[in-house]
Amino acid sequence: MSDRKVIDARGSFCPGPLMELIAGMKLAQVGEELELLSTDKGSANDVPEWIRKVGHEILDNREELGVWHIVVKKMK
């Protein structure tokens, strides 16, 4: 999707990627998609956990060359 916002949190440690994603989510409209880039292994588990807990939708969660790409759709 061309208008998907990318949040580049590569190099940041927990809970940096999560907090950067949440800051981006605050500014996003409902239905908007955001893609988080993270190199923090802990966040690869923690961020999807947060997304599920607060009720947003995970569209993708994959690792490519040590970078996790977590795509989330804002649901509320």
Partner: protein
């Protein structure tokens, strides 16, 4: 079901404890818990307005923290307030001992709180001490 409230008492001035307290506040607040932080003893001085002193490490992990790109404890506390609605209060006793007025502290801190009020406010919360 609403997440259980979280109370956080911070008395330490060391890097690891301040970091863990800030992480707990930030992640708890953005995950739907009502978070109340009580800054007292050795922690409060780091929240003087404009203070950027590095907290001393307790051990090797604290040394590593400052070399890695971990978000700082002050930024995490501020994000807990801005993104998660956490309330961070300076301890009124610690302010008296340090001779601090409210205006000398970072603006994202709430009003000074006594221990009685904090314990009352967090009566139903899980309370963590750092």
């Amino acid at each position: 079901m609403a997440a259980k409230p979280i109370g956080i008492i911070v008395v330490s001035g060391t890097r690891e404890r301040l970091q863990m307290a800030a992480m707990t506040a930030a992640v708890g607040a953005v995950s739907g818990s009502a978070v109340t932080v009580f800054l007292s003893m050795n922690s409060l001085g780091y929240f003087r307005r404009g203070n950027s002193d590095e907290a001393p490490p307790e051990g090797p992990f604290g040394e590593l923290l400052s070399r890695k790109k971990a978000p700082g404890f002050r930024a995490l506390f501020e994000q807990a307030v801005e993104l998660g609605g956490a309330r961070i209060h300076p301890c009124s006793m610690a302010m008296d001992v340090l001779g601090l007025e409210r205006d000398a502290l970072e603006p994202y801190l709430g009003e000074p709180l006594g221990l009685t009020r904090f314990l009352d406010d967090t009566g139903d919360a899980q309370v963590w001490t750092f």
